[in-house]
Symmetry: none
Subunit: 226 residues, 2 copies
């Protein structure tokens, strides 16, 4: 993909480092967004849907590991690349032990040229494999990358939340997803919405699909099943 269409979210609490990375990556043509802690990073990520997130590990408010975990829990960031930024003498292998789903580590300080080539390599590595994002079930076809759903060759329009919810259910056909699970994976752990929100979304999805492939298991949750 072109740098021009590639969004990178940089997260660090030290303005100098942010500025350094910002400057060097913008020069390459990437779209750069900044956040100064994990909290901000999550909010911004929801908005801009970056392709790559570079997270400092130690930050106030919410550290990088925590932010990464939360990202990894949400379906919409399934194919976002996440890299940690670490001080050179930190012991990464141990940090990695926490296994929160980071794709790479970048140590600082780092020289501009090295930074840029690492970023390029990272994006290359993950755009190659992530390509197959299309799931087909019966006459239903959903493409996570294009955010599109097709039924009987007819394109259906699903806004974000509906799409995420449908996408989650379809990710494991037959499995019952509890309301808690759905909440946490579509809305995230921090967001509080009322009881009926999920139902309303389910209703809209059902309406568009025009069938009964989404089953209610009362007292448990919902599942996609044909």
């Amino acid at each position: 993909m072109n740098p021009e269409n590639t969004k990178i979210l940089l997260v660090d609490d030290e303005p100098d480092i942010l500025e350094f990375m910002d400057y060097n990556l913008k020069k390459e043509g990437y779209q750069i967004f900044l956040a100064k802690n994990g909290q901000e990073a999550l909010e911004m990520a929801q908005k801009i849907k970056p392709h790559l997130i570079i997270l400092d590990i130690m930050m106030p408010v919410m550290d990088g590991i925590e932010a990464c975990r939360q990202l990894r829990n949400m379906t919409e960031f399934n194919n976002t690349v996440v890299a940690f930024l670490t001080a050179r003498n930190e012991d990464y292998s141990q940090i990695a032990g926490f296994d929160v789903g980071a794709d790479d580590y970048i140590s600082k300080p780092i020289k501009p040229r090295v930074l840029v080539s690492r970023i390029k390599a990272l994006l290359r590595r993950f755009s190659a494999n992530g390509a197959e994002e299309i799931v087909r079930i019966g006459s239903l076809e959903i493409d996570r990358e294009k955010y599109s759903v097709t039924k009987d060759n007819q394109e259906l329009v699903f806004p974000r939340k509906e799409f995420e919810l449908l996408s989650l259910l379809i990710s494991k056909p037959g499995k019952v997803f509890t309301r808690d699970e759905i909440m946490s994976r579509v809305w995230g752990d921090d967001i509080i919405v009322g009881d009926r929100t999920i139902d309303v979304h389910i209703r809209k999805i059902r309406e568009k699909l025009g069938d009964d492939s989404i089953k209610t298991i009362k007292g448990v949750g919902y599942k996609f099943d044909t």
Copy 2:
């Protein structure tokens, strides 16, 4: 698994934090146990065999990391989930360095809702992988993940309580489950329902299965046997 059957051991030397977590998790129906240092935690863990232990890192007498290490050395806690509780600004590289086999960590301060959903996610994550979700007995197949029961390739519908009851009996074919046991494991310890409730559910299950695989042991309980 139901919250009612899930034991959580909370370990912290600050009474306020214990109380906070205790209150919020009890509200969800979990069985909560408390300890105020690593020493106590180990003793209590041996007694109650919790499913999840939340350990503060810094405590007098025995800190969380030491406690975790000892737990990990005992086979009986192989599938106990252990999470660390850390202050938000603590240095993870150090904590991580200890690599004593924690499954997760939770930063404080934490909001009640977030705490609860984190706990749920944790339990889900670790119960899903280990346990075989499909049980087959004769022509009967029950799938906890799909919440479905199939007999002779015919799908039968079991509402929640019936499903859980059947599922319990089938979890150990031949074993007699007393009414008390059934009550406590399907309904939970602090819910009081009348005497005939279990019978009615048993009746419905028998009706749907259409056989006599559920045997009554008068004065004792029920068992599933073919």
